[in-house]
């Protein structure tokens, strides 16, 4: 079943377009990442889905509800982790989760929500005394308070150090394993690649690409890069590999055949291919390519 359905969504702020015709959908149980640079329209899209912003036009449905109406039955089914940490510093961690979980028909026991994000020991700590990373985990616990079928995570690990990020990823993966549908925004490729079943790349308020991480990688025209070193007096290598300072690089479609050609040539010529490396295109390459293309388009406009 489809959890989120967005078609031709438009939104402008005082005449400045932020979202210009975005369409995508999320199936139940899926983890979808909205990926894009700042200003690409990620947060606007998510806030429309969360019911915080009104759209200008387009169709938006979440579990069959129109989020713009802000109905209680809709709110009962979704959990929201906002981009900014929002807490009352005089409440304790446990009180915060309890207070904000009160409106749900079957809230998650506070202890369970805190265990899930690794804050059980801080249950009686005043929120004002938490570290930044702990506050973000509290945000996550609040998002889980109502045991939601769908969780919105707006840049859940921005500003985290690597170990905190790895912990957050484990938590999110745990949620996904429970069957929670997750819509995540991020500008970290690695995060999208690690967590998401599917990625929608946004640039300038439009969908630039969409698909499973692996699918997006393979959609890139030349997807594998082969690099190697050759001694200065060597003859020119095959495949049209070009080099500077003895380091050669060539992009190939079929690495198996390419490597065979290259190594056969080297063996026949009695040469060594030092530091031979085969690199698969990362999602980051795809992303950079797409965002760069969008920038150039902007420049020529």
């Amino acid at each position: 079943m489809t959890a989120i359905h967005v078609r031709d969504l438009h939104k402008a702020y005082r005449g400045v377009p932020a979202v210009q015709g975005i369409s995508f959908s999320v199936e139940e149980g899926e983890v979808l990442a909205l990926l894009g640079p700042n200003g690409a329209g990620k947060t606007t899209t998510v806030e429309i889905l969360e019911g915080f912003r009104a759209r200008d036009s387009g169709l938006v449905e979440v579990f069959g509800f129109d989020p713009g109406k802000g109905e209680r039955q809709y709110r009962e089914r979704v959990g929201i982790v906002l981009q900014d940490t929002a807490v009352d510093k005089f409440l304790t961690v446990g009180e915060t989760v309890e207070l904000l979980g009160q409106g749900y028909p079957s809230p998650l026991p506070v202890g369970e929500a805190l265990t899930f994000v690794g804050l059980s020991e801080q249950r009686n700590t005043r929120v004002g005394k938490l570290s930044g990373g702990q506050r973000r985990r509290l945000d996550m616990a609040v998002g889980l308070a109502g045991d939601p079928a769908l969780l919105f995570l707006d840049e859940p690990t921005t500003g985290f150090d690597p170990s905190a990020r790895a912990e957050a990823w484990t938590t999110i993966q745990g949620l996904a394993a429970r069957g929670t549908t997750i819509l995540l925004t991020t500008h970290y490729m690695e995060e999208a690649e690690r967590l998401a079943n599917r990625v929608v790349i946004l640039t300038d308020g439009r969908v630039a690409a969409e698909g499973a991480p692996a699918e997006l990688r393979s959609r890139r025209q030349t997807m594998t890069t082969v690099t190697f070193k050759l001694a200065a007096d060597s003859p020119a290598p095959p495949l049209g590999a070009r080099g500077t300072g003895g380091v050669f690089e060539v992009r190939v479609d079929d690495p198996t055949a390419a490597l065979h050609t290259l190594t056969s040539w080297a063996v026949a010529a009695g040469l060594r291919l030092d530091d031979l490396e085969v690199t698969r295109a990362s999602l980051e390459d795809v992303y950079l390519e797409l965002t760069r293309a969008a920038e150039q388009e902007d420049a020529t406009r």
Binding site: E76, L100, G103
Partner: protein
């Protein structure tokens, strides 16, 4: 459903109460300042006899009524406006809005807590005034006093919520909110008895809500002979302000931080 929502109101009042007492600044200004002023003004103005509504009373009674006004306005207007602005600017209100919690229950809980704090303050002021300064404590006009207090608390809570629409951020909140109210205590015959005010000041103090509230309380505490203690004219002015405040709050109250 209604019962469940009312339980939410009570619960939010409970949480608001916890944060209130844990916030030293709010608790100090709202709770200890009135008692401090009561002691200070009584010391400054002595305990000379004074005539209010044709009754001879000690000037401590005048001070006590003024401090009750101050207490109710501090709890329901000043403290509510500042704490709700802070909750808005930190994004806490937005977060509440993202849950199924009916919005009115959250705000009602906050208002309820403010009203309860102000009632506590009234009891403290009455007790303090009676025990230490022989101030007059009303008995026969108690219904009028309670109705007047509730109307005042409701009107100033509505004005407090309306005020949040004008306050751009939490840093500016204490200054703006206090400045909007503090001068009126001094010019409206609340803290200091003013015997012959200029005409313009007289008009001003009868139009803005502090003066009428204080006058209505004075009538309830020291009623003219044969009166039940209800001051219809001043209560009407207060009600108009309350309704106006509620309308502005309904129209302009924001659940998201101001840009």
């Amino acid at each position: 459903m209604i019962a469940a929502d009312l339980r939410l109101v009570m619960s939010f009042a409970g949480y608001a109460n916890r944060t209130f007492w844990r916030n030293p600044a709010a608790a100090f200004f709202t709770l200890f300042l009135p008692v401090f002023f009561l002691v200070l003004f009584s010391a400054l103005f002595g305990n000379e006899p004074l005539t209010i509504n044709g009754n001879q009373v000690s000037s401590a009674t005048f001070t006590m009524v003024g401090i009750i006004t101050f207490s109710v306005v501090s709890a329901c207007y000043t403290n509510l406006a500042i704490s709700v602005t802070t909750a808005r600017e930190t994004g806490f209100l937005k977060r509440v809005r993202g849950t199924p919690i009916p919005r009115w229950t959250f705000l009602s809980g906050r208002i309820l807590q403010s009203v309860l704090v102000s009632l506590l303050l009234v009891v403290v002021c009455l007790g303090f005034g009676a025990v230490f300064y022989h101030a007059r404590v009303p008995t026969s006009t108690l219904p009028a006093l309670i109705i007047t207090l509730i109307m005042g608390a409701a009107a100033f809570a509505a004005l407090g919520l309306a005020m949040t629409a004008l306050v751009p951020n939490s840093d500016a909140a204490p200054a703006i909110v206090n400045f909007s109210i503090f001068p009126f205590y001094f010019v409206s015959n609340v803290f200091i008895p003013i015997s012959n005010p200029p005409q313009w000041l007289n008009v001003l103090t009868h139009i803005f809500p502090i003066g009428p509230f204080n006058e209505a309380l004075k009538t309830a505490v020291v009623p003219p002979l044969g009166s039940t203690g209800f001051n219809g004219g001043d209560l009407l002015v207060l009600a108009v302000w309350g309704i106006g405040g509620a309308l502005v709050a309904f129209r302009y109250f924001s659940w998201e931080p101001h840009p």
